[in-house]
């Protein structure tokens, strides 16, 4: 297991206060993303737990792009990963964050 946390700038999410969502499942090659309220309105707090070692660089790039694409400020994301590829990670992030944007 590898675990790390990030705090990235992002446009504030209008629904941050009421945010609570779960996307995906922890199974081989997949991941789950738990969305909760974060600590700062213009930042997205992210905690990553991953079964794969040595890809922190790639994670940071994937996550930075995702919170730049979406309004994720004021959110906290907890990611539990079981070896998902960046393609799957990006898709799950889009699913989790777009769901909140739609409801805004």
């Amino acid at each position: 297991m590898e675990r790390f946390t990030l705090s990235l700038p992002s446009t504030p999410c209008a629904r941050a206060d009421a945010a609570a969502a779960l996307c995906g499942v922890v199974s081989s090659g997949n991941l789950e993303i738990l969305v909760d309220r974060g600590s700062m309105a213009d930042r997205c707090d992210i905690e990553v737990n991953t079964s794969a070692h040595g890809f922190r660089d790639t994670w940071e790039a994937v996550l930075a792009d995702a919170v730049a694409r979406h309004a994720a400020g004021g959110l906290a994301l907890a990611i539990n990963d079981a070896g998902a590829t960046p393609a799957v990670v990006s898709l799950r992030l889009d699913q989790a964050l777009e769901a909140l944007e739609d409801r805004a």
Binding site: G29, A52, F55, T58, A61, V62, G83, T85, P86, A87, V88, S90, L91, D94, Q95, E98
Partner: protein, 547 residues
């Protein structure tokens, strides 16, 4: 003895004379097969052992490997595929020492070791069509050992649905005074149909068990991922629909299985029935069943059959090629020709793509070859007939210049990372290292960059036809290479510029909502769904039955 101009016929007569005491009529008893092979084959012979990625003359392969290396040695094996342990045993046991072939997937590691130990000399790795071609020029077999479904007393052969390579091999051998020996699953009084006439064959043996057939083209829909669904949507909307692709070949794998399963759902919803995917050069993929049932498909010609599809194919004779007996007729040589000359698109997956678009499934320590992919996945420069898809691709490539020919669409579809985070995009193909390690003349490239027209990944579609320089091409490839090191080293401004020009298109650029990419779009989500879609006609192999 024959006249000086007919030595081959005389040689053939000598061999048949030696074989005669071991046959009753045309039949060799299974217990006598080793003696029969030792009688029919001579040291130094060029021997074709039938076996491809599906049907295998496995009993004859094992029997050849069990022959005495004192009687039979220095054989030159010519064969489509090295798939069985016995195919390598003949080299390890000193019976054969030269090889010309197309594909060695399952035995690729053992083959590489033999080359390193200098116990085998590989003439060349070919495509299927190329190897068949050489059977009629400079690699004509002296003896061929083939597999058939049934023989009659006269030696006529019935090949069943898995006709595959047999007609090409027998034609080359029989008409140049070679010896044709078949293993058959059964002897019948009357054959359902004659696929190889008796006067092209010399002897047959009823094998102790039916010849092996690999269900290579069966893909369980349960294993198709959402990313593959997304990429399939992009391919259908961004390429199939845009070019109006009516005649095509699909590679093996889950990426293209996903496309097949999206035809009756997603493609139907786009109004594409009758506008795309009407004519196929394709094995009877079980995952094509829902599209056939939905009326998408007019015709399918096949290289070989697929285990379990026999009854379905026989019941859909308007779609598939079948004999007067009702069962399927396949033919690898003709279907490869169809894929090369009569199809407007090939789409398939690969393991590695470099910055020039060269792609290869060759990996270190394995000599695998590519079978038919290089023919399917290349532009036939001898083609002269036009079609809308072919013309449009040719005009895109020509740009401002006048197009005097069209272009086959050759599409590589890959997720940017494979399992275990292995990047599909690389600066340098493993093929180059393999070339050095194995002393090859050329790197084993499956599809050359200048034949690839489009690359589809989860990030987007790169249309290489629209690139006007090597630098643009490189950035177009980097621009869909995701978070691989190759992708992250992109020139972001140039990539955005290519996107503005439509060279790179993201899912949202072609109106695809990524959240719609769910497995619910698959017309079948399990093997059981496929059985249901076939009305119970598809009978999957046991290993695919989990209910």
């Amino acid at each position: 003895m024959g006249a000086p101009w007919n030595q081959r016929a005389a040689r053939r007569a000598r061999r048949l004379e030696r074989l005669a005491p071991l046959t009753r009529g045309r039949e060799i008893a299974a217990a006598d097969i080793i003696a029969a092979l030792e009688a029919a084959i001579e040291p130094g012979d060029r021997v074709c052992l039938e076996g491809n990625n599906q049907k295998q003359a496995d009993f004859l392969a094992e029997s050849l490997a069990d022959c005495s290396p004192e009687r039979l040695h220095d054989l030159h094996m010519v064969q489509s595929v090295l798939a069985l342990p016995a195919h390598i045993d003949v080299f390890e046991r000193g019976i054969a020492n030269r090889l010309d072939f197309s594909f060695s997937g399952p035995q690729a590691n053992r083959l590489a070791r033999l080359v390193e130990e200098r116990r085998i000399a590989i003439g060349a790795i070919h495509t299927y069509l190329e190897l068949f071609g050489r059977y009629f020029v400079d690699l004509t077999p002296d003896v061929c050992l083939i597999a058939a479904q049934a023989a009659d007393a006269d030696g006529n052969l019935y090949l069943g649905p898995n006709t595959e390579d047999t007609p090409a091999i027998v034609e080359a051998t029989a008409f140049r005074h070679g010896i044709v020996i078949a293993q058959v699953n059964e002897r019948l009084e009357r054959l359902p149909r004659v696929d190889i006439p008796a006067d092209w064959t010399d002897a047959f043996v009823v094998a102790p068990r039916p010849n092996y057939i690999e269900p290579l083209f069966t893909r369980d829909p349960a294993q198709i991922t959402e990313i593959q669904v997304l990429m399939a949507m992009m391919a259908i909307k961004g390429i199939y629909a845009e070019y109006g692709v009516q005649r095509l070949n699909h590679g093996i794998g889950f990426d293209t299985a996903a496309i097949e399963l999206l035809l009756p759902t997603y493609a139907e919803s786009l109004g594409l029935r009758g506008k795309i995917c009407s004519h196929w050069a394709l094995n009877p993929h079980p995952t094509l069943i829902p599209a056939i049932e939905a009326g998408f498909v007019e015709s399918v010609h096949s290289f070989g059959s697929e285990v379990g599809m026999e009854n379905y194919v026989a019941a859909r004779s308007d779609v598939f090629f079948t004999g007067r007996d009702g069962s399927m007729r396949s033919n690898r040589a003709f279907c490869q020709t169809a894929g090369l000359y009569a199809c407007d698109m090939f789409i398939g997956s690969t393991l590695q793509i470099d910055l020039a678009g060269n792609s290869s499934t060759a990996t270190l320590g394995r000599i695998a070859g590519f079978g038919g992919a290089p023919n399917m996945g290349s532009d036939a420069r001898g083609r002269r007939h036009a079609s809308p898809a072919w013309l449009r691709a040719g005009r895109e490539r020509a740009g401002d210049a006048i197009a005097t020919r069209g272009q086959k669409l050759v599409v590589q579809t890959v997720e940017t990372f494979r399992e275990h985070m292995a990047p599909a995009f690389v600066d340098r193909l493993d093929a180059w290292q393999l070339m050095e390690d194995m002393g090859m003349d050329l790197p084993p490239i499956m599809i050359h960059g200048d034949d690839v027209t489009h690359i589809v990944t989860e990030e987007g579609i790169a249309n290489l036809l629209l690139c006007r320089s090597a630098a643009e091409r490189e950035q177009a490839i980097r621009g869909v290479a995701g978070y691989t090191p190759v992708g992250r080293a992109r020139d972001a401004r140039m990539v955005e510029n290519l996107r503005d020009r439509g060279v790179i298109r993201r899912p949202e650029d072609i109106g695809i909502d990524k959240r719609g990419a769910t497995r619910d779009l698959l017309a079948a989500r399990s093997i059981k769904d496929l059985v249901r879609a076939s009305g119970g006609l598809y009978d999957p192999p046991r290993r695919f039955r989990n209910w």
